[in-house]
């Protein structure tokens, strides 16, 4: 029981510090965008509950998105999603809605939290055979 209690306390401290420690919020933003530096570091965070966290917007386009990024990020003109916005391509309902026709699609997601922001662009490219290859179009976080 002690091990579980220690895990809970550790996560609670992490959550309570998130609003005041930008590095923790940044780590969670990157977690949401599947942009944690390594899969192992991303997977380690799975017990941290994150229901309806952050303001997450997404936009799916059939035309290639511009790769130019302005110094001041203009808020994305898209709909909100509750959490883990990359789910728009990875989760069943979004995958069916946007990728069932087998055509190129570009997804832009943006999350913001207490002045920090992260925008990520994905390209789902039809793979040889069937399915899609997912490409990330930018690697570095952009801050508001």
């Amino acid at each position: 029981m002690l091990v579980i209690v220690m895990l809970i306390v550790t996560i609670a401290i992490w959550l309570l510090l998130m609003p005041v420690v930008p590095a923790i919020a940044s780590a969670t933003l990157h977690r949401f965008h599947l942009r944690t530096p390594s899969f192992a570091a991303w997977a380690m965070q799975f017990p941290i509950p994150a229901m309806y966290n952050f303001a997450n917007r997404y936009k799916v386009e059939a035309d290639q998105v511009s790769l130019e990024s302005s110094p001041e990020m203009v808020p994305l003109d898209g709909r909100m999603v509750n959490h883990f916005p990359a789910r728009i391509f990875t989760f069943a309902d979004g995958r069916y809605l946007h990728l069932r026709h087998g055509e190129d699609r570009w997804l832009t997601i943006e999350s913001s939290y207490r002045g920090q922001g992260l925008r990520t662009r994905f390209h789902a490219e039809p793979a040889e055979g069937f399915g899609f290859d997912l490409h990330r179009l930018d690697g570095k976080p952009e801050t508001q």
Binding site: L16, M18, F46, A55, R79, R114
Partner: protein, 275 residues
């Protein structure tokens, strides 16, 4: 990690005919029932998802290939359902232990698989499975009242943590202003609360309602996340069941898939004997 050690083969069977021991077994089964409901509540969605993952694979180098595989997610889900179902019905300590461990491992896979990582169903189920893994190792503890108090305390801690996780991510202007819930729920969500509100109020009034709805959510999650664990078991259990049920009843019935595991955990507090 002594909490996860294999059960002693000399353990007395948990089905002993005393009132207190039945409370222990009932606690175990309530939590298993909650986990099972959590997993099958969106059954039709998962059946549809099964077909989608098979026909539209998404190759992403971020995930190891086995954690992108439709076969993996299917196997983990079906095995988890079977393990929890068996755990719900068996009274054999060793089988309870094996089922609990199996379900916990399957939930871990589902929490990091490309096709299911975002679904909080599996996160709350993982925490309930972790609780169950600890609990089955103590089903034969001689002091059952003490066990139930400890089990109830652990369940309150878990529920508080889940709520705190929801709260801390909402401590931002976009939630305090109601902007997020306006877009997710109030504009076009087909659910009785929001349909009724749209039929009764003008858009500007709706925006104000959304703001106060959002602030209510932030405040309730914050207060419960910070304080639920410290309340007496029965009061905490009743409040948690009421609060968790109200989240789904007033925003989205599908959320029961996330909440049933927590409701099962909360109900353990109702079984703590009065001292």
């Amino acid at each position: 990690m002594s909490s996860f050690s294999k059960p002693n083969s000399n353990l007395t069977p948990p089905l002993v005919h005393t009132k207190q021991l039945n409370r222990v077994l009932l606690s175990h089964r309530l939590v298993q029932g909650g986990i099972l409901l959590t997993l099958i509540w969106k059954w039709s969605f998962f059946v549809a998802a099964n077909g989608i993952y098979g026909t539209i694979p998404l190759n992403d180098p971020f995930f190891p290939s086995w954690l992108q595989s439709a076969t993996t997610v299917r196997a983990a889900f079906v095995t988890a359902v079977a393990a929890v179902g068996l755990n719900l019905s068996t009274s054999r300590p060793r089988l309870q232990w094996v089922c609990s461990l199996t379900a916990l491992l399957c939930m871990t896979v589902l929490c990091i698989h490309q096709a299911s990582y975002n679904d909080m169903t599996f996160v709350t189920a993982w925490w309930a499975c972790l609780w169950a893994m600890w609990f089955v190792n103590h089903l034969s503890d001689p002091n059952q009242a003490k066990l139930l108090r400890r089990a109830s305390f652990l369940s309150r801690l878990i529920i508080s943590l889940i709520l705190l996780g929801g709260a801390s991510g909402k401590w931002t202007a976009e939630y305090w202003s109601g902007e997020v819930f306006t877009d997710i729920y109030f504009i076009d969500r087909e659910f009785w609360v929001f349909q009724w509100l749209r039929s009764q109020f003008e858009p500007e009034q709706l925006r104000t309602i959304a703001t106060w709805y959002s602030r209510k959510v932030v405040l309730v999650e914050t207060v419960a996340g910070l304080g639920l664990w410290a309340l007496p078991p029965r009061i905490a259990a009743a409040l948690a069941i009421l609060l968790l049920s109200s989240i789904a009843l007033f925003s989205n019935f599908l959320l029961f898939s996330v909440l049933f595991a927590l409701i099962g955990l909360a109900s353990v507090g109702l079984l703590v004997p009065r001292s």
